[in-house]
Symmetry: C2
């Protein structure tokens, strides 16, 4: 019989405003999804109710900077004075248990992960149109016209990075985007390069 | 907005006895499957009730041999004095209409199709074990032990051709095999190489 493969690293990214968080939450609310959500590491203080190892791995700046030096992060960035990153050990341990690991990160982070982990599954979440992306950015907050123009410029640059990805999933409807992502993961578990050696063993043994 | 891509050529193959026909029928019985089943061409006489262009394209030997000479067949073979094959024109016309074309063929035929049409999607249907394949061959008919041994030998040789395929789908349960095939097709419609140019147009226009 065929035993479970090593898990897949699934990276969902896309321009800011496309709805990555919404899609990720909808995906994890589904019963037939058994990906492991990758817990980020941060140097910011825990908020009320947040639990270490559940919401985040909370670290000091010294600890975090040491992990950076030791190349123990799949990707990291600094926002508003705090570090955020993805610890490589947790990801590898979970993959080795045969579980698929799911990362939802910004485009720049995804490019970092691709370099460290090219065998991952890189999915680019795409707005149905630039107009629609602008609508989503506008209705999200009270940004000024200048800020909106700037965010659209950044989004276009991020969309131009789509050639770094394996799949493009359009986020026209959240439930359809979820179906596509689940299909991609199921299909990748059937890719010949990934599973062939298991079947070759079958021929040798019997 | 994103218009429909050219369709995909989906080729389902696998060793004889694995259950290709059963999976194909189960797949086409499902409501959400809108592949176009590729109609074969043959020189055998129509049986009662068979309709030209529905069950088969019925041809004379002269017509068929001319199509072979003109390279108008994706694959062909001769069984018990009759030719069988897949007409390339019908497949291309259907793909250009944006429909996915589904072919269920023997391993040797699939290898021929791969050469003529490498951008197709080649799915290898795999028995859960060699013992299970033997069970299926044995329970199918009243073959002698020699014939069964011979069919198992051929099946093993066919399984060794799996490296020519893009995906391996294990036929442990027919409904699960169908789910995997549908997921593979959905995922391939999201592959970056296939759809990227459509999204690039979006960036240029807006």
């Amino acid at each position: 019989m065929i035993k479970r493969e090593k898990g897949l690293l699934i990276v969902l990214s896309g321009p800011s405003g496309v709805g990555k968080g919404t899609v990720r939450k909808a995906l994890f609310a589904q019963e037939d999804v058994d990906f492991q959500y990758s817990i980020s590491m941060t140097t910011r203080k825990p908020r009320e109710g947040e639990v270490d190892g559940v919401d985040y791995f909370f670290k000091t700046r010294e600890e975090f900077e040491q992990l950076i030096r030791e190349n123990k992060l799949l990707e990291w960035a600094e926002y508003v004075g705090n570090y955020y990153g993805t610890p490589i050990d947790y990801v590898e341990k979970t993959l080795n248990e045969g579980k698929d690991v799911f990362l939802e990160i910004e485009v720049q982070g995804a490019i970092q992960v691709r370099k460290a982990f090219p065998e991952g599954l890189f999915i680019f979440l795409m707005p149905p149109s630039l107009d629609e992306l602008k609508n989503r950015i506008v209705t999200r907050g009270t940004e000024s016209e200048d800020l909106i123009q700037n965010r659209m410029k950044v989004a276009k640059e991020e969309i131009e990075m789509m050639h770094e990805y394996d799949y493009i999933v359009v986020n026209d409807q959240v439930n359809l985007a979820c179906e596509r992502i689940k299909a991609i993961v199921m299909a990748e578990h059937c890719r010949r390069e990934r599973v062939e050696h298991q079947y070759k063993k079958m021929l040798e043994v019997e």
